[in-house]
């Protein structure tokens, strides 16, 4: 906070700053639409992480908010608000300062129709080029049919042939054995070498933000975060919503519930990491690899535990605002026994993965020094989570912006410095071990928790109506990285704006710089090492 105070005077006096506001998570400055670049340029040295870009519509204006924070001190935050007119909204693009803003602004253009001056490539990103209208605008007609005929789609292959070039364009996805979901990479190849990669998003855009904006805070939103990660990290995503909504509505969470949340969330992280490692082995080893089946076998055990706890195997819907849905399953001893048994067998399993992957010479030849992402590039694209940590960025919101019960537990943030595919896999393997440590400590705490003191949920009003114009961006360390949610309240029981920041969205942006110049095989391996999940990219 000290930095913030030191800055506040200097920031508000910057040329182009026309006002000040207060968000629940951070102070905010209002910037003239034509001074965005100059202001952000001055701020870049203090705030090196453009976490998210939110665009929204008010009655009298459109607004773009750049959520800035620091990698080495994420609690130092600043929101930069850029208001623009209702008619022909346009403001300066931030992509020259923060490359990660490029895709975020394309999304804002796509969904709200704000033009960004100086943007290098302002096209739709989630919806097809032929879409009519901007669906998040209040004037958008939802009844209007949108029919896109096949002939209206451009065919990049024909251009390619017409040019008679030495390179060839190849479509990796949306149906391909290695795209980890319906991702479409438009890859330009020179022989076996990659000249360019352009991810095409939006194949499973499900209007998640719109859906959340039409649900009530108390119960109707919580099921959605599970649907942003079907790799097993659902509980972590639920926590992202719980965190921001609890702050917005000023709800407390009982300590007992915090411990349960921490334990179940870490089990969820292990689910996700096991899947990431298993599918990565598929990408590098081949489709008949033992590692994949081992990973599925080990996930199964965690999944049984979480099923006993939440009643669900994938879409958990277990967190509630102010706590969790229900207490541990009875008999408690049996549940603890199950967790213990799993944790006891884990070290030898990890050793097996180490033997099959990390210690394998061919695996090393394939992964060491391929798909290198250096720390500064990672920062410029807003990479977080294991991807950032493998590039030597010591950034973990569980420690740096503490929530839940993490602060009171003994665990470490895993980092590596090489930033290559090998480091990313290794970081995930080691993070599984750390998650196990956390779970073990939680189990100990829960075992000895006095029966009279087991409150699983605080008193939460039947209808939650946060104050008018309360705004908050909060993030948690989800399995893939920083999963942030921005909510603006308008005093009703549904959010006026619900913006989701999926970590994989940023990671995919970095793919091109990582894979260009490498072989096709490395492109696939690099994509796999990012552990993207399209649920949080397309939303």
């Amino acid at each position: 906070m000290a930095v913030q105070q030191r800055l506040s005077g200097a920031i508000t006096s910057l040329d182009g700053v026309i006002g000040r506001e207060e968000h629940l998570n951070a102070p905010a400055i209002v910037v003239r639409p034509d001074a965005v670049q100059s202001v952000l340029n001055r701020l870049r040295s203090e705030f090196d992480h453009c976490a998210c870009v939110t665009a929204q519509e008010y009655q009298d204006r459109f607004e773009t908010i750049y959520h800035l924070r620091r990698y080495d001190e994420p609690t130092t935050e600043l929101s930069v608000i850029v208001p623009t007119t209702v008619e022909g909204p346009h403001s300066q693009s931030a992509s020259a300062v923060y490359p990660t803003a490029e895709w975020h602004e394309r999304e804002a253009y796509d969904l709200l129709g704000i033009d960004y001056d100086g943007h290098p490539d302002l096209r739709r990103i989630l919806l097809p080029e032929t879409w009519v209208g901007h669906p998040l605008r209040s004037s958008y007609d939802q009844e209007q049919p949108q029919i896109v005929t096949l002939s209206e789609h451009d065919n990049p292959l024909e251009d390619d042939r017409a040019l008679g070039s030495d390179t060839m364009v190849i479509n990796v996805g949306p149906h391909h054995p290695a795209t980890h979901g319906v991702l479409h990479l438009l890859v330009t190849l020179d022989g076996e070498q990659v000249v360019g990669v352009e991810p095409q998003l939006g194949y499973i855009h499900r209007c998640e933000e719109q859906l959340c904006q039409s649900g009530t805070y108390r119960h109707q939103i919580m099921p959605y975060p599970d649907r942003w990660d079907w790799g097993g990290g659902g509980l972590l995503n639920e926590w992202a919503y719980a965190r921001v909504a609890e702050e917005l509505a000023d709800l407390s969470v009982p300590e007992y519930a915090q411990v349960i949340r921490t334990m179940s969330a870490e089990l969820s992280r292990m689910l996700s990491h096991f899947l990431a490692i298993g599918t990565y082995a598929l990408d590098v080893v081949g489709e008949f690899t033992a590692v994949f089946m081992y990973a599925i076998r080990d996930r199964e055990q965690i999944q049984s535990l979480l099923e006993a706890l939440t009643g669900q195997r994938l879409m958990f819907n277990y967190f509630r605002l102010g706590g969790v849905a229900w207490d541990l399953p009875e008999p408690r001893e049996e549940f603890f026994e199950g967790v213990r048994t799993f944790l006891e067998t884990l070290p030898e399993k990890i050793e097996e993965y180490d033997d099959l992957l990390a210690h394998n010479e061919i695996f090393q030849r394939r992964c060491v020094d391929t798909g290198v992402l250096d720390a500064s590039t990672a920062k410029s694209f807003g990479c977080t989570g294991p991807v950032a940590r493998a590039s030597g960025i010591d950034y973990d919101l569980r420690r740096d912006d503490p929530y839940g019960y993490y602060e009171s537990l003994d665990w470490e943030v895993i980092t590596a410095s090489a930033g290559d595919n090998f480091s990313r896999v290794l970081v995930r393997l080691r993070e599984i071990e750390q998650s196990a440590r956390i779970v073990e400590q939680c189990v100990e705490l829960l075992e000895s928790w006095p029966a009279a003191d087991r409150t699983i949920q605080s008193n939460v009003p039947r209808t939650i109506k946060p104050p008018v114009d309360a705004e908050c961006y909060r993030a948690v360390a989800a399995a893939k990285g920083e999963l942030g949610i921005y909510i603006r309240s308008d005093g009703t029981d549904t959010p006026a704006r619900f913006k989701i920041r999926g970590p994989s969205f940023s990671h995919l942006q970095a793919l091109e710089s990582m894979a260009t110049g490498e072989y096709v095989a490395d492109l696939i391996a690099t994509l796999g090492s990012l552990d993207t999940i399209m649920g949080e990219v397309d939303r």
Partner: protein, 347 residues
């Protein structure tokens, strides 16, 4: 002894005239071909699944018939009843020929392999050279498939297959030559016969002079090059499903797919047969008949390929080529020179 002589003996015909020889050879060829196809039928739909499952803690096919064996029938019906899709713009007849060439080249190889108990279709004096020659025709089939499919993934797969086969064919043949230096002949039956002597007597256990024991270094080299030839992990780059979908196979469906798939399996068995003939004493072995030992040996190689498939990562295409040209080639020539010196000085 060739198969026509064996059959004539079994039928009590005595000396045969050329016409009878021709007919008996055809019958023999049908028998051998059926045997090989039977092996691939067991290997493809059933054994491969069972073996991979065993490596990965699963059960695999166990619903239809004893041990799930009838899955072979079910799969055959399933594959044959699928629609044969010929994509627009494919280059016919190359597209149609490729799967046939792939299967034929592999089957042809078995013509000169001595399988024990007098089962050998032909025994030309250039047997080993013939074996390598027909086995490498498969590369032509892969290029045909890759080029004719009018698909970029197929093209990449076809190109990879050729680059890989060229890079590994040379070490393969050169390593086999080091064995020929010992035997002094290319005739497969002679190569097998030369491996019957005892190399070492350890009490009751006598180790035969199989070239795998005489020159283990050459054996390992040959085994590695053979893996690349049959395109299995760590050298399955021509298919590399997670990278280039299915390589040259991408556009093949129904019967063509079965043929392409079959061709690959026959190639694995042919690889095993070459390995057995050149390095493992052919059909030699104690107690059991030679033919059974031969079958065991080719299945052992099949098992080995599946083991590698489950456990060993795939090397990248440039690494495949690098290992081939910079590693295997040099080592195989070193092996050849060394063997030549040893054979020249000692034998």
């Amino acid at each position: 002894m060739t198969i026509s002589e064996t059959l004539a003996g079994a039928l009590g015909l005595g000396a045969v005239n050329p016409l009878e020889d021709f007919v008996l050879s055809l019958v023999g060829a049908a028998l051998v071909g059926t045997f090989i196809l039977l092996n691939t039928a067991v290997a493809g739909p059933w054994a491969k699944r069972k073996i991979t499952a065993a490596f990965t803690d699963r059960i695999a096919v166990n619903r239809i018939g004893p041990f799930g064996l009838l899955i072979i029938v079910a799969d055959a019906v399933r594959m044959l009843s699928k629609e044969l899709v010929i994509p627009e713009g494919v280059d016919r007849p190359a597209f149609d020929l490729a799967p046939l060439v792939l299967v034929a080249s592999a089957l042809l190889g078995f013509a000169v392999v001595p399988m024990g108990n007098g089962i050998q279709l032909a025994d030309p004096t250039v047997g080993l050279a013939f074996l390598f020659a027909v086995a490498s025709i498969a590369s032509v089939a892969l290029v045909m498939a890759g080029y004719a499919s009018n698909n970029k993934y197929s093209m990449l797969g076809g190109l990879r297959a050729v680059a890989q086969n060229v890079a590994y064919e040379i070490p393969l043949v050169v390593t086999a030559m080091s064995v020929v230096l010992f035997t002094g002949t290319l005739q497969t039956s002679e190569i097998v016969a030369a491996q019957t002597e005892t190399l070492l007597q350890l009490g009751a256990l006598s180790i035969p002079s199989w070239y795998a024991f005489v020159n283990p270094f050459a054996f390992v080299l040959f085994l590695a090059a053979n893996m690349a030839e049959v395109g299995r992990n760590p050298f399955d780059t021509p298919e590399a499903p997670t990278e280039i979908v299915a390589g040259f196979q991408t556009e093949y469906s129904s019967v063509y797919f079965v043929l392409a798939y079959l061709g690959e399996f026959i190639h694995i068995f042919l690889g095993g047969a070459i390995l057995a003939t050149v390095f493992l004493g052919g059909p030699a072995g104690p107690v059991l008949p030679g033919f059974v030992w031969f079958t065991i040996k080719i299945w052992a190689f099949f098992l080995f390929t599946q083991w590698c498939r489950s456990a060993i990562p795939r090397v990248r295409v440039d690494q495949v080529i690098e290992i081939g040209w910079k590693g295997m080639l040099v080592l195989s020539f070193a092996n050849l020179l060394l063997t030549a010196v040893i054979v020249g000085v000692i034998v």
